[in-house]
Symmetry: none
Subunit: 126 residues, 2 copies
Amino acid sequence: MMNLNRLMALRKERNWSLQYVSDQLGMAKSTYAGYESGYRRPSLEAITAMADLFHTSVDYILGRVDEPGAYADQSNRQDEKTTVDLNNLESCMLSVDGQALSEEEIRQFIAFIKAKRELEQPARSK
Amino acid sequence: MMNLNRLMALRKERNWSLQYVSDQLGMAKSTYAGYESGYRRPSLEAITAMADLFHTSVDYILGRVDEPGAYADQSNRQDEKTTVDLNNLESCMLSVDGQALSEEEIRQFIAFIKAKRELEQPARSK
DNA sequence: CAATTATGTACGCGGAACGAGAACATTATT
DNA sequence: AATAATGTTCTCGTTCCGCGTACATAATTG
């Protein structure tokens, strides 16, 4: 039927754990795991929060649309200054000395930042 | 909270009755009426069926997006990519997982990228 | 290698809330 | 005026959501 098969792909692309995602969404690990496995179905608020977290659209998670980054998410829409979250690679082009950065380089930077934050906050785990 | 205020507008634009819409959706009149009034929240299947019936997106019904026919704009949005050079950061703010990056972190990243490019182009450099 | 911790999976339970139908009020049609 | 159509609100039975928990496996640490 209507499976949310794309959730796991969205999570694994970012190398996030179930625990980390469910913490970000403010729900139990088993709850989010139920969404990925198809055992449970998210509420409208839950699926909206997931679309925000993954910087994609509800329609994409539902499989109604095939472009992950088709819509702007709320945080980007409401900010007057342009705020770019690096997880949303489709929305921005970054360059250094006029030379564009590849997605791979941006991913490395994200990993670098996360590793740095881990070291500074050893108590927290994702 | 998250009201589906746009449902009634979508229906009235078409001069459709609650009975007609609920028949098309295969549910009771009171069920769909509950969605419009905010008394009940639709399931994922129900809101998907509504998006299909009204020829719009789930994100539009949820208020995550302001254009009813959001699908057509996919190619347009990619042209609107914001290009940011990391050497002049005054214009924009960068974040990872919604957490802002400090200027120091970005400077470290610039240094990292430059060093990486040095190593990848040993013949040209110097 | 052993021990501990992180990660993914499955299940049972209490309770929230969904969906249908009925009853009623209001408006439109004849 | 009578009838039908439309919109609103309520109760009831049932579904199923979300959490806690337990367990299996993989990863990390000493």
